[in-house]
Each structure stands twice: as structure tokens, then as C-alpha cells.
Symmetry: C2
Subunit: 116 residues, 2 copies
Amino acid sequence: MTNTELLKGTLSTIILRMLSEHPRLYGYELTQLVKERSGDKILIKEGSLYPALHKLEADGLVTSEEVYIGKRVRRYYKLTEPGKKATLLSIEELRGFLKTIEDLILPFPGNYVPAK
Amino acid sequence: MTNTELLKGTLSTIILRMLSEHPRLYGYELTQLVKERSGDKILIKEGSLYPALHKLEADGLVTSEEVYIGKRVRRYYKLTEPGKKATLLSIEELRGFLKTIEDLILPFPGNYVPAK
DNA sequence: TTTCTATGCATCACAAATCTATGTATTAAA
DNA sequence: TTTAATACATAGATTTGTGATGCATAGAAA
């Protein structure tokens, strides 16, 4: 990805989020979707994507299905029922985190004055 | 910290941010400040903090000074001039990242409809 | 007086997540 | 025919933070 370190921990949530909008997606499609939706800012690497997808599947949050397009294989992923619940929780958690960090690095008017 | 994975890459920016509000801080003080300012959500561990501070110093973004309080040692850190510049950049970058992720996991009205 | 808690620094072994690099293969365009 | 895009996958290296541990001072509680 572009920012490397900062993305840690957000990838699976992003994947789940994308799958919650689309009935099914395959890996490459997912990277393109995220790339497009982020204005080319988040470029998911294959070396990150596939392990992440495999882990989500191993955890029972998604299922996959191979589809042949001519001779080329595609592996479509979709959310399971537990996966849908996990998605909501995961997004909630990420959002809370973002809020926390934002508040922390907020620009203060002048200098910060700690509470007495 | 509380969320472990999500914090990756944000720690040094948080430290720099705190130092930009206070002329100088020592390690323990910093953890308490962040704990307080985050509503007990971000608890910086010693195993994260001190290596991070040492790295910032090695990179020339902060300088430190030992101060004895009775027999007890404190090591105060403050921003260098390059550190001040780096702080601005670092915060800018983090903020951009937060915005990008937020937009990506935004709750859509109904289902997302990709642009044609 | 002893013991617990807080203060205060530090380092090491480990785990988790992602990246880089690499590999294989199909397909379409130049 | 060569390049770029599509499409999957894995191995090894790197980064970052955590947990555990160690050492020591200081104040409060018991």
C-alpha cells in the first residue's frame, strides 16, 4: 500500500467492508475497487491480499468459490452470516479507533491546556 | 495499547504531537498524558514507548536530557528543529490517512452504487 | 516495619501483519 | 512478438508493538 505502516490492522476491515456492499468479489477485483474508491491512495498488494483473504476464510468469515473464465481461474469471495456480524463489529472498532486518534492529534487553538 | 494492530505506525506521530504541545516531556509523563487525553483508550506500553523514543532521538527529531529527582532519574525529551518540521509532516500524513480510511468505510445510504 | 502501589528507566523474545520478490499462467493490445 | 493487464499464490524479510522481565526509588497503607 502507499502508507505501508499506517495500514496495519485495517486491511481485513476494508475487505469486509467491500464485501458488505457487493454480493461477491474476487481478489483482483477487490484491489481495483479499493484503488478506485480511495483515489489511488490505497493499493493493496497481492502479498497482503491473498493471505488476508485466506485468513478470513479460515476464520469462517467468508467462503470462496472457483469460477473459470475461459481457462483463467477466478476465486470469488462472499460473506458468511458470521462474517456479516463480524463486519459490523470490525467497522465499529475501526471507526472508534480513527475517532480516538483524530481527537488526540487534533489541532488545538493555541496551546493545549490540560484540565486541572 | 488497547487495539494493538491498529496503532501500528501511529505511535511516533502521537509522541511528536504531544511534544509539540509541551516544551518537554519524560517517558512516563508521556504515557499518562496520552492515557488521559484519549480517555484511557490508548495505553502506551513501556516496551513500545522507550524504543520509539530512542529511535526518534537516533533520527535527530528529539533530544533528551537526564534529570535527577532526588535519587530517581528522569529523561526529558524535547523536539529539535528538524523534529518540529517532521511533526507537521507526520501529522499531515496521518490525518490524510485517517480521512482516506474514513471515506472508504463510510456508511452508505443503502448500497454503494459505483460510478459509471 | 513491611508490603503494596506508583513512578521511572530499559531490554529481549515473540507475535502479527504487511511488503518485496518470485513464480506460474491466460488474455488482449500494441 | 512483446508488453501490459489480469489472476492466483507463497516464501522470506521487515516493521512494529506487546508481554515479560529486570532494576530501583518513593510514598501510602497495613
